[in-house]
């Protein structure tokens, strides 16, 4: 990666210190060891800081090559240079993306708003680094649909992330939909969601296609806060994609339901590294985690690492993980009624995926994600 010059003052900043403590991720870094991060970071990228302009009014937030070019009426955009990042984050690239972003793009969203955020990368062989910050109003509900248009970004690296603050009694529904249409673009997202008392984060990620992508999450739950985190991955060709998720129950009565499903075709590799930590203070917590993967390709791989780390006795918790192929008996049953083998496979894969897609409820997002899933399946 191209050298970035630091002043002495910068180097003393807590984010630099933390980055230096964690070190640049390599092949032995736990959360990156199945992602082949080393060659990505060793590569030369052109890099320049994004210069923000006054965005024009539009129907959604559009961030093009790191610059906010469009924004709807119900979102107030500002740029914050002294953003207080989470110094406890476990991921070095969380700090690196903060360090490389001159300012954080702050999105102030009206209560009960539904907002679409589109990341658009149209330049090749460049490094794009920026951060978003979203705060929900107390008692409000905000829905975000995040999409990516990176088909013109060959050999580019998007290093970005979200810092979201979910206020007391508020709900944030975050749907991240990545439909990777090219093989050589890379997205690394390092996020932090902080959920205040009785707040909720519904995180639903839908990641389809080839190429490289890894999202790393840290979700902190306060008293009675809860999260319902779901990930659906359909990886094709030589894709290497997945999610690393740390959910921390920090206070009593926190609740988390964490479910990951992956379908891996061809020579694709899927990654699910999930950890729910229930702290000493987090009595009466409820934590459920499950990961399921179907290997469709003979050379497909799934790295699944579901973990519970528990420091209290008074809780309900469970976790599980399965990796396998489509069941022969089930396929046979469908075939015995005249359904062709390929159609039977598709029927079973869709059923597996629909369990998560259907949680979106009927609407535009459901239709789009459902259609993209089918299109990616047939690539």
């Amino acid at each position: 990666m191209q050298a970035v010059t630091l002043s002495l003052a910068d180097a003393r900043h807590p984010l630099y210190e933390r980055l230096s403590e964690l070190g640049i991720p390599g092949n032995k870094t736990e959360q990156y060891k199945n992602f082949a991060i080393k060659p990505l970071l060793a590569k030369e990228y052109a890099f320049k800081e994004a210069k923000q302009v006054e965005p024009k009014e539009g129907s959604r937030v559009v961030i093009e090559n790191g610059v906010v070019v469009e924004s709807p009426k119900n979102v107030k955009i500002s740029f914050e240079e002294d953003f207080k990042a989470d110094e406890e984050h476990y991921d070095a690239l969380y700090f690196m993306s903060h360090v490389l972003s001159k300012s954080v793009i702050r999105l102030e969203i009206d209560a009960d708003a539904v907002v679409e955020i589109e990341h658009r990368i149209s330049e090749k062989e460049r490094l794009f680094a920026y951060r978003l910050c979203v705060t929900t109003p107390p008692n409000g509900r905000v829905e975000i649909m995040e999409t990516f248009d990176i088909k013109e970004s060959q050999n580019a690296l998007l290093l970005y992330g979200v810092d979201a603050e979910v206020a007391r009694d508020a709900t944030l529904r975050w749907v991240r939909h990545e439909n990777a249409e090219i093989d050589n673009a890379v997205v690394i997202g390092s996020h932090r969601y902080n959920v205040a008392k009785q707040g909720a984060i519904e995180l639903k990620t839908f990641d389809f296609g080839s190429g490289l992508a890894l999202h790393l999450y840290k979700i902190d739950l306060d008293n009675y806060a809860w999260t319902d985190a779901q990930h659906l991955l359909l990886a094709t060709k030589e894709a290497r994609r997945g999610n690393v998720v740390h959910i921390n129950h920090n206070q009593p009565y926190a609740k988390s339901v964490h479910e990951a499903r992956a379908i891996l075709k061809d020579k694709a590799t899927g990654i699910f590294d999930g950890k729910i930590m229930v702290g000493h203070e987090a009595k009466y917590s409820n934590a459920k985690q499950n990961s399921k993967a179907i290997l469709l390709g003979e050379h497909a791989h799934m790295y699944a690492k579901p973990q519970l780390e528990i420091y209290t006795d008074e809780l309900e918790a469970s976790h599980g993980s399965t990796i396998g192929q489509l069941e022969e008996e089930t396929l046979f049953y469908l075939r015995s009624r005249g359904v062709a083998l390929d159609d039977a496979k598709k029927m079973l894969v869709l059923a597996f995926a629909n369990t998560l897609i259907e949680t979106l409820g009927e609407g535009e997002a459901f239709d789009k994600i459902h259609a993209d899933f089918e299109a990616a399946y047939y690539v």
Binding site: L334, S336, G338, M347, A351
Partner: protein, 242 residues
């Protein structure tokens, strides 16, 4: 025909001819090879036919994939139908029907027509209306699964119907409605192969031929009277005759 499952030979020179439009019953002790025979006919991956052929409409079924056999009109009602969460019962069955229609160059039944057809058969079988929206066999009771097999049979209208222990685990009401479904399918053209341990279903569907299968071979063939002999004297009566 000879067939094995794994290394074990189960069918050891079985010879059987099914008459068009007739009801054939196969009875036999546990492990005689009844289910292996039904699996061999529909092309189940467990069964390897090592010798012989199964001729249907002039073609050897053993050279066809399971779905091709189904499209040509062969239907097996499974002893233990699998549960498939996430696959909607109506969606699956319409796909199967449309595949068959396409195979025979017929106009495909559209969604509205299909729902009407499914509702009619559900009502006839005394099934709950939510069978349309539920996932295929998922969480179904034993009786519901068996009725669902009959529902599929009635909608797909096959020509050779194999019923593998369709009567097992059914209470008297379920047995009656399943039998009525089977009787509705009788048209003098369709052939039935009924595999059963018990004679009670034969009070409702009257067989033309009864075959006794023992140690992988048909050892005796007769009419319905054979069932009465078996009931009175058990399989030992057949042994004595051999």
């Amino acid at each position: 025909m000879h067939a094995k499952i794994g290394d074990k030979e189960i069918l050891k020179g079985l010879d059987l001819e099914l008459q068009k439009g007739k009801i054939h019953v196969i009875m036999g002790t546990n492990g005689a090879g009844k289910s292996t025979l039904s699996k061999a006919i529909v092309g189940h991956y467990d069964v390897e036919v090592t010798q012989g052929e199964i001729i249907y409409k002039g073609k050897n079924l053993l050279e066809m994939e399971p779905e091709e056999r189904a499209l040509e009109g062969v239907f097996l009602s499974f002893q233990n139908p699998v549960e498939i969460p996430g696959v909607n019962n109506a969606y699956f069955l319409r796909n199967a029907l449309n595949a068959k229609e396409k195979h025979h160059g017929q106009k495909e039944t559209n969604a509205a027509e299909f729902l009407k057809l499914m509702r009619k058969h559900i009502e006839q079988l005394g099934m709950k209306p939510d069978m349309i929206s539920r996932a295929l066999n998922d969480g179904f009771s034993g009786g519901e699964k068996k009725r669902n097999e009959i529902l599929q049979m009635e909608i797909l209208q096959p020509e050779v119907i194999i019923l593998d222990e369709i009567d097992s685990g059914l209470d008297i009401d379920a047995l009656k409605s399943v039998s009525e479904g089977i009787n509705r399918m009788k048209n003098g053209e369709r052939t039935f192969l009924v595999i059963t341990h018990y004679s009670r279903i034969l009070d409702y569907i009257h067989p033309d031929y009864v075959h006794i299968l023992q140690d992988g071979k048909i050892v005796k063939t007769g009419g319905p009277e054979l069932v009465k002999i078996l009931e009175a004297e058990g399989y030992q009566a057949v042994q004595k005759d051999l």
